[in-house]
Amino acid sequence: MRRTLLVIDDDRDIRQVAKTSLELVGGFHVILADSGQRGLTLAHEARPDAIILDLMMPDLDGRTTLAHLKQTPEMASIPVIMLTAKVQVNRQELVGQGAAGVLVKPFDPMQLPDQVCEILGWRSSRKDKNRSDAE
């Protein structure tokens, strides 16, 4: 069964690239949210296997969204990978707040699924077809 990932990012293009990469290269099922608030709702409804959460968003930013997720018992166990374009990000601090890891933009779409699996300790679910294509 395919794992479901929730990608929360206010940038439409990033959402689209991430979805394409994670679905077509990684073989995941990807659902998208364009804001922290929408992400919290979707996470509650869909209970994804992991969440990829952008740090800098208007209104409810990544840090606050992460705090909400970790404070809600039903969703606290869902691993969250923070996605950021900032270089001055304190990884240790984010991990301390409950993040499973940090991914930095720009990312390599061909490597993104593997990076996600590595952070979460999952076996790579990369499609054989895509793997052979990539190679």
Binding site: V17, P106, A134
Partner: protein, 590 residues
């Protein structure tokens, strides 16, 4: 100062000379006066002697006349002057004997005179006896014998000789006295003159000293005014304290910044201007660094400076109203000429503005990094998916174009990263988190990071680590080493070999990255560490570099207190060295 010293020397010399001259003249005057008194006494004695001799002569004449009268008249009353003269003669002879005894010559003359006088008295006595016993004729016979007259002449002659000699003596002594008086007058005159000259000289010197002192005083006042103006115009807070930390003086900037008046601060403790918790923490830090107990109070401020070590650090000043602001503080020990500790000087620069600028810069970097990297992420991601064939196979020409777009977006992405990185490192906004790092582990991590790239370029990396650990920010040192290795890979030919070694040399550890690539011209060995300085302008395009890699390496190494340099044989290869200081607390042997 030299002038005053010379004048003082002159005053001392003149005082000594005048004292000596005054002593000499005083002694001369004293001696002359004393001798003058003695000469006067002698004169008086001589006069008296002459008078006594004259009196003797008169007495003898009187006695003789009296005897002759008696001899002729036979009247007893005629003898009365004779008898009176005899009594007087006895006294006069005694006086003369005593007065002349002091002078051997006169004493001898008196001894010669005395028997003659006695003989003369004897003849008078014979005359009187002859008259009284045998009458006038007998007396006339005595008179006619002429012996008395001869004796009288002899006495007169001897007295005359003595008187003449005494008078001559008197003349000599009077001349001598006059000379002495003259020399005394001269001495006193010279002394007076000398005194006047000295008085005038002293007056001149005093006037000159006064003028000098006045001009010195004015110069001092001017210097003090200038110094105060400088101190008060300085954009630094300057506080001087005594040895115990009590404030002595403050400048205008201190008053303005801290909102105190100088008089309020004078005599109060410097601790009132500092954050107590900050000082406590610095005390703990210094105790650890210096290996000796340093109190978390005033000692935390001055201990290092007290040992003559330059002490510049950042801390917080507390204003009168309790608000705070950051300062860069420099503490210096104030020492007297004898090198005794007199107190401390604390010069502070207000860092508020600098901090505000840094904060703005940070915000700018944050915004720029986000705003540039987000669209780049989309471009790179989309192109990556296209080139990766995820969205389906592309026609060959389209694939080629997509590949060009992807590699250039990669380059742009690296450039943005490098610019932001360099800005943050050079502005010191990246905290260099120094921890004990194993040299071999650092080298392994760096070489592993570039191994795939190296393999892709057909380049092998030989790693020769040394033992030991250094105190460094692991992430940043790995970044620096990766940049050097990345460069070496880029410029190595297919099948090339890179030597990546570390050695401990004296008080440092030296990393070496050596390739057998095309090398670097000598005139570029320094400039390649500048921003956007590459050996060949086309390198950025062809080799995919940003022109910032080595600038970043240099910044990171400098942040660690080390240095980086390059050596090269053109056409044979290049060697890059990173030397990090091996201080007692920055490297330990395992």
């Amino acid at each position: 100062m030299v002038m005053i010293g010379r004048i003082r020397l002159w005053i001392i010399a003149a005082s000594v000379v005048s004292l000596a001259a005054l002593s000499a003249v005083s002694w001369l005057s004293y001696r002359n006066t004393k001798e003058l008194i003695a000469a006067n006494q002698r004169l008086a004695r001589a006069h008296k002697m002459i008078e006594d001799l004259a009196a003797l002569h008169v007495l003898l004449d009187g006695a003789e006349t009296s005897c002759r009268d008696y001899a002729l008249s036979g009247r007893a009353e005629s003898l009365k002057p004779y008898e009176a003269a005899l009594a007087q003669l006895d006294v006069t002879m005694q006086v003369l004997r005593r007065d002349l005894a002091a002078d051997p010559n006169r004493s001898r003359q008196f001894q010669e005179l005395e028997p003659v006088v006695n003989a003369r008295l004897e003849t008078m006595k014979e005359l009187v006896q002859a008259r009284s016993a045998s009458g006038l004729e007998a007396a006339v016979r005595v008179l006619q014998s002429d012996r008395g007259k001869k004796l009288t002449d002899e006495i007169r002659q001897q007295i005359s000789i003595v008187q003449t000699e005494e008078r001559n003596d008197l003349l000599d002594r009077e001349r001598e006295s006059r000379e002495r008086a003259r020399s005394t007058i001269l001495g006193v005159g010279v002394t007076c003159l000398l005194g006047i000259v000295l008085l005038l000289t002293a007056s001149l010197v005093i006037v000159r000293l006064n003028r000098q002192s006045e001009s010195d005083h004015i110069a001092l006042q001017n210097a003090e005014r200038i110094q105060r103006t400088i101190l008060n115009s300085a954009a630094y807070s300057m506080i001087s304290t005594d040895k115990t930390g009590l404030i002595l003086t403050v400048n205008a900037a201190t008053e303005k910044w801290l909102q105190y008046r100088g008089a309020e601060l004078a005599g109060s403790s410097i601790l009132g201007l500092h954050d107590a918790a900050e000082l406590h923490s610095r005390g703990v830090q210094l105790t650890r660094a210096m290996g000796m107990p340093v109190g978390g109070d005033y000692q935390a401020l001055v201990t290092k400076a007290g040992y003559g070590v330059a002490d510049d650090f950042e801390c917080t000043y507390v204003r009168k109203d309790g608000t705070r602001f950051p300062v860069s503080l420099s503490v210096t020990a104030l020492r007297t000429g004898g090198n005794d500790l007199a107190g401390y000087l604390m010069i502070a620069t207000d860092l508020s503005e600098q901090r505000a600028i840094e904060k703005m810069k940070d915000e700018f970097v944050s915004v720029v990094s986000h705003e540039l990297r987000t669209p780049l992420a989309s471009i790179k991601g989309a192109l990556g998916l296209l080139v990766g064939g995820v969205t389906g196979p592309l026609p060959p020409k389209a694939g080629e174009m997509a590949q060009i777009a992807l590699s250039n977006s990669d380059r742009l992405s690296r450039l943005v990263d490098d610019i932001l990185d360099l800005q943050r490192i050079e502005s010191g906004r990246i905290t260099i988190d120094k921890r004990l790092c194993n040299v071999a582990a650092l080298m392994k991590e760096s070489s592993e990071s570039v191994r795939l790239v190296a393999e892709g370029e057909g380049v092998t990396i030989e790693v020769s680590p040394c033992s030991g650990s250094i105190n460094a920010d692991q992430e940043r040192m790995v970044q620096a080493l990766i940049n050097l290795l990345g460069n070496a890979i880029k410029f190595s030919p297919w099948g090339g070999r890179i030597e990546f070694a570390a050695e401990r040399t004296g008080r440092s550890v030296v990393f070496r990255v050596e390739d057998n690539g095309r090398g670097i011209p000598k005139d570029k060995l320094e400039t390649i560490f500048e921003r956007f300085q590459q050996v060949d302008a086309s390198d950025a395009r062809e080799k995919g570099g940003t022109g910032l890699g080595l600038a970043i390496v240099r910044s990171i190494v400098q942040q660690h207190g080390g240095r980086v340099w390059a050596e090269s044989d053109l056409g044979k290869g290049s060697k890059f060295w990173i030397q990090l200081p091996l201080e007692s607390d920055s490297m330990t042997t395992e």
